[in-house]
Each structure stands twice: as structure tokens, then as C-alpha cells.
């Protein structure tokens, strides 16, 4: 079965600093050949005798056929685990599981697509862009961030995209402003049919809202939420739960890793993230006699 994840010892090819982030290329043929855009990999950090049991999950920037198959991930060094990763050097080994999660769903016809991202998560959009372009889709990038150092891939976006709009809060690259100022305009100008997103949760929420106002479907990857809350990446630990309402109108707590990371933006209850909404399936019943603290 080629669509199932594998566990592999990947060899580090290069680690380089890109703005505020680290880009790591790994030789992992089994993962590269199975990968579909939107999926992620889960890395064990700290080496063979590690005391850190949580796997770190990263979206895949691109896969290439060099050396039998390489996978590139982009991450921010925010805690000791990612610090250890950033310290790896060429020829080091890394225990990697992947590809994991559900990929972006692709349009059947060659339609116009807007790919919106921010932070290191924007990296996942480039693998998607590659696939969309090969299917004859138009690809329009919108990248947003606080300043130039937190916008990954602005030059690459200009190179591979049919159009690319960059917006920063301090105007250090592209326009000065926020996503709210730019995305509605790009959506109208390009006549896009679908919006894809990957990046910080607030950004995804904005994307969903703007797409919804224009009646466009949005597909977003909750990779950042997964990185903050998950522990395994494989769907076992049940810690990366977020409220999503289904076709039947019932809200369920779903796993960002195994049920995502790509979700329909309009199905995620963004304002209830980090809570169990009272109407979610299995939510605690307030003041219930059987479960409350009455005894």
C-alpha cells in the first residue's frame, strides 16, 4: 500500500537558515514517493536516547527526486526540541514518520486558486502550487506576516505563481497592512474559485471568513494548531482536538493530525478552538446529576 505512512531513518542533506526559520532537506525516499501536498511528517527529536517523547510535526515544503527522494521541511526554532533539530548537520540521521494526515483536495478542472499563508506554515503551499500548476490551474499567492523576516518564500512565490501579493504589518516587504486589506481584492481581481490556506490559526480564521463572504470554498491546514497541541502525529494520542461541525450539523471534536491537518475552513469553529463547545458531541453536561460534583 503506497498511501500508508512509514517510519524511516532519514539522512539530513542540508539545514539552512531562511529568514527567521530553518529549512531542512532530508533524504527519505519512502516518504517522498508517498507524499501528497498538505500532508506532514512527524520527527523524533533528541536522538536515540532522547528524554523528549513528543514528536514534532511539520508540513512538507517540497519533495524532489534527487538522491532517490528528498523531503524539505521549514520550521521555527521555538523550543528545545526544534532547537535540537536546527542543530543537526549534513549526514545526521533523523527518525521520521510520514507522510501523515489528509492532503489538500485538488480541483478536478483547471480553475483559479488563491494560496494564502504566513509564518513557516506557508512552506506547505509550494508543494501544493506545484501540483496545481501541473494540473493547469492558475496559482495566485498571498503571503502575510508581521515583517519581512516572518514571510517565508516571497521571492519563490513571485517566481512560481501567476501573481503574488505580499503584505506585512510594518511594510518591510510588499504592501503595508494585513491580510484583510489584500485578500478580498486579490480574490476579486483574479476571479479565483477556491482558497487554500496554511499558517497561524488567526490567519486561517481570516481566510475562511473572507472566502465565506465571497461564497468561495476554503481549504486550510491547521498545522500550527497541531504543532502546539499534538504529541504523536499518528492519531493515537488524542491531544490535538478541535471542534468541527459535520454535514449533519453536529459538532465533533476531531484530531488535527489524523482527521486533518487539511480541513474545510467553514467547518472549523474557529472561535471555539481550545474549548469543548457546550453543544459538541460528548460535551460535559453542566450540573448533571450523574457527572457533576453533587456527591
Amino acid at each position: 500500500m503506497s498511501d500508508t505512512p512509514v517510519q524511516t531513518s532519514a539522512t539530513v542533506l542540508t539545514v539552512r537558515q531562511v529568514q527567521d526559520y530553518h529549512a531542512m532537506t532530508l533524504v527519505a525516499p519512502a516518504i517522498a514517493e508517498r507524499f501528497r501536498p498538505g500532508q506532514f511528517v512527524a520527527a523524533a527529536v533528541g536522538g536515540a536516547h532522547t528524554a523528549r517523547l513528543v514528536r514534532r510535526c511539520f508540513g512538507v515544503h517540497e519533495v524532489k527526486s534527487d538522491y532517490g527522494g528528498t523531503v524539505e521541511v521549514v520550521f521555527a526554532d521555538t523550543e528545545p526540541g526544534t532547537g535540537w533539530l536546527a542543530g543537526l548537520r549534513s549526514r545526521d540521521q533523523l527518525d521520521l514518520v510520514g507522510p501523515l494526515g489528509r492532503p489538500f483536495r485538488l480541483p478536478r478542472d483547471p480553475v483559479g486558486c488563491v494560496l494564502t499563508g504566513g509564518g513557516p506554515g506557508a512552506a506547505s503551499l509550494f508543494a501544493l502550487a506545484d501540483t496545481l500548476l501541473r494540473r493547469g490551474c492558475k496559482v495566485h499567492f498571498v503571503l502575510a506576516g508581521p515583517s519581512a523576516r516572518q514571510v517565508f518564500g516571497s521571492r519563490m512565490a513571485q517566481r512560481v505563481g501567476d501573481t503574488a501579493a505580499i503584505v506585512t504589518e510594518d511594510g518591510s516587504v510588499g504592501e503595508e497592512g494585513t491580510l484583510d486589506d489584500v485578500l478580498p481584492r486579490v480574490l476579486q481581481e483574479t476571479g479565483a474559485d477556491v482558497v487554500y490556506g496554511c499558517g497561524p490559526t488567526d490567519l486561517l480564521r481570516t481566510i475562511t471568513q473572507i472566502a465565506g463572504e465571497l461564497g468561495l470554498p476554503s481549504q486550510v491546514s491547521v498545522e500550527e494548531f497541531l504543532q502546539r497541541t499534538g504529541a504523536c502525529g499518528t492519531g493515537l494520542c488524542m491531544t490535538c482536538m478541535l471542534p468541527v461541525h459535520g454535514e449533519d450539523g453536529v459538532t465533533r471534536m476531531v484530531r488535527a493530525c489524523a482527521d486533518g491537518p487539511v480541513l474545510r475552513g467553514d467547518r472549523v469553529r474557529w472561535s471555539d478552538l481550545g474549548t469543548i463547545p457546550f453543544d459538541a458531541l460528548g460535551a460535559p453536561r453542566v450540573l448533571s446529576v450523574t457527572e457533576g460534583g453533587s456527591r
Binding site: 532522547t50 526540541g81 502546539r228 499518528t234 474549548t275 450523574t290
Partner: protein, 327 residues
């Protein structure tokens, strides 16, 4: 799997002594892409509750040195969905299944056992009297011998006589041996030792508890010495009661340590989050470790550490350095 590692939990014979621990193997579907579930001694389900439960809000997990702190709030689909969707899948895969039950009252335990009675594909029932994660922690059965015994009795009475009932106990009781004796008196056929131990972490960035549940259950290799102690003490008091040892098992030697303390089988838990292939690896390493010590049958190793000082055990052959991997 060689005959060397065959084991038994009372009447339940297992071709492998390496199980998954409750709450760590998902529904089984998540592990299936990584290895043949038939290689499991048994699959222990996530604790099944009477009603669907969403559990606690995130964050539910915090990473601590060689461990995880989790406060899940016992999420699950409830027994109805479990019997319709999850158990039949395991039966279809021919996986020996131990069903873990969690109730919030003795009546709920009785109801769960009743619902499970006669359902095909249940190799054993594990009674989770220990999980410190539920919202109403004040009534944790595992801390009181009488309460634990009442829960066990309810499940034992509702379960078919041929199906073993196992009591899963928490280490942070005043005296785990007293609790274990009470459970066995109440009809438990075996014991699963141990559940997580209550701990807490504070986020020094937000200056608040790291988990929404404030405190959580500590698991992983950090817990292993506590598990070894509990298995040793309980096996000394109840040498004929089969024990599933669990708590921080990540390697074959970890499994052997619990077996030497008195466990007849071991369950791998938190290690599965770190290494989805942990079960077949632990089994392979355990087989190698037994062979290196010229122990022909796993049963011969159970409780071997209780032999008095002066007993000369078979030595590891010096030319075969063992691979050790301790996360």
C-alpha cells in the same frame, strides 16, 4: 513469534507477552499501517464509557523529562458506537482484544459490563478504576480499597465467567497491595499495574498550569521505576495472580525488568506515541534478551527477581553486547 515468549493471564493464553496499554493504541486503525496487529499479545482499547465524551479542552498534554503529562478527560465515542464501529473492526482483523471500561459510578460499571456480556471478540475486560483524568476526581475508585472492590465486583458479576476481569490500578494510593488484595477478593482474575501517576507542570511563559486539567497523569519512562516497584510488591503478596506490567516500557529490557518483578505480560503505552513500531521492536528485543540469558520459557522469568540473594542467575554471554535504547 517463538514459543519462548508464549504466556498466559490465567485462562487467557497469549502468543506474545507484549500488549498495547489502554488509551495508547487509538482504535487500532492508526497502528495497522505500521505493523501487523496479529503480532500483538492483545490490543487494549481506550477506556469505554457509557456515553460519548468529548474530554477536556486543549492543551491536554505536556512534555516532561522522559515522560508525558496528560489530562484527557477520558474522551471516547461511548459504548454504543464502540460496539457498532470499533470492536467489530478489531474482530475482523483477528486481534485479541481486552476491553477497558471506565465508569463514574458502580452502577455505570455494572451497566457497561452488562452491555459487553456475550459480545464476541472480547478476550478480557479491564476495569479502569485508576485513571486520574476524569473531571470528578474526588471519587477516584483506585484510592479506596472498598470503592475499587465495588467496581470490580460490579464488572465481575456482569461478565461471563470464562472471561477474565482485570483491575487496572493507580500507583498513587496509600498502599497498592491493599487495593490489589481488595480487587482480587472482589473477583479480579488479574491485575494491570500501573496506571499513570498524578503530576503537574506549570507553563513558565504564561505563568499558568500547562494543562487545562491543571494536574494530569504522568506516563512514559519517568514512571518505570514506580511500575517496577508496584509489580514487585503486588507479586510478592499475590504470587498466583497474573499481572500485566505497564509503565514506561520502551525497550525489550524494560519489558524484562517488569517480568522479573512479577509480570506475566507487559503493555506498551506512551512509547507508541513516540515510536509507532514500539510493539514489534519490544517483542524482538525481549526474545533476544531471554535467549541471551538462556531462559527458554517466559514463564520461567516471571518474578525471578524475588529469588533470594545468593542465587546465581544465568549470565549474559560477554561477547554479545546488548543494544539498549532508553528514550
Amino acid at each position: 513469534m517463538s514459543d519462548r515468549v508464549r504466556t498466559a493471564l490465567g485462562p487467557l493464553e497469549l502468543p506474545s507477552p507484549v500488549l498495547t496499554a489502554a488509551g495508547c493504541g487509538g482504535t487500532g486503525r492508526e497502528l495497522a499501517p505500521f505493523f501487523d496487529l496479529g503480532r500483538l499479545g492483545a490490543f487494549t482499547t481506550t477506556s469505554v464509557t457509557a456515553q460519548p465524551r468529548a474530554g477536556r479542552p486543549t492543551p491536554r498534554v505536556a512534555e516532561t523529562p522522559s515522560g508525558l503529562l496528560t489530562a484527557m478527560g477520558m474522551p471516547g465515542p461511548g459504548i454504543e458506537t464502540f460496539l457498532e464501529r470499533d470492536l467489530p473492526w478489531l474482530v475482523e482483523q483477528d486481534v485479541r482484544t481486552i476491553v477497558s471500561l471506565a465508569g463514574h459510578s458502580v452502577e455505570e460499571f455494572a451497566e457497561l459490563a452488562h452491555r459487553l456480556r456475550g459480545v464476541p471478540g472480547v478476550a478480557a475486560v479491564e476495569v479502569n478504576v485508576a485513571c486520574p483524568n476524569v473531571a470528578d476526581r474526588g471519587r477516584m475508585f483506585a484510592r479506596h480499597p472498598a470503592a475499587a472492590a465495588a467496581a470490580i465486583r460490579a464488572v465481575r458479576d456482569g461478565t461471563r465467567p470464562g472471561t477474565p476481569v482485570l483491575a487496572k490500578l493507580a500507583p498513587d494510593a496509600t498502599d497498592i497491595v491493599t487495593i490489589a488484595l481488595a480487587c482480587v477478593d472482589a473477583g479480579a482474575d488479574g491485575l494491570t499495574l500501573i496506571n499513570t501517576m498524578e503530576g503537574m507542570a506549570i507553563d513558565t511563559g504564561t505563568l499558568r498550569p500547562a494543562l487545562t486539567g491543571v494536574s494530569g497523569g504522568l506516563s512514559g519512562p519517568a514512571l518505570r521505576p514506580v511500575a517496577v516497584r508496584c509489580v514487585y510488591q503486588v507479586h510478592a503478596a499475590l504470587p498466583h495472580t497474573p499481572i500485566i506490567g505497564t509503565g514506561g516500557v520502551a525497550t525489550g529490557l524494560d519489558a524484562l525488568e517488569l517480568i522479573l518483578a512479577g509480570a506475566s505480560a507487559v503493555a506498551v503505552g506512551t512509547a507508541l506515541f513516540h515510536d509507532p513500531l514500539a510493539v514489534p521492536r519490544v517483542l524482538r528485543e525481549l526474545e533476544e534478551a531471554l535467549a541471551a540469558r538462556r531462559i527458554e520459557r517466559l514463564a520461567d522469568a516471571v518474578g525471578l527477581a524475588h529469588r533470594p540473594a545468593g542465587f546465581v542467575p544465568p549470565q549474559v554471554r560477554p561477547h554479545e553486547p546488548e543494544k539498549e535504547r532508553t528514550p
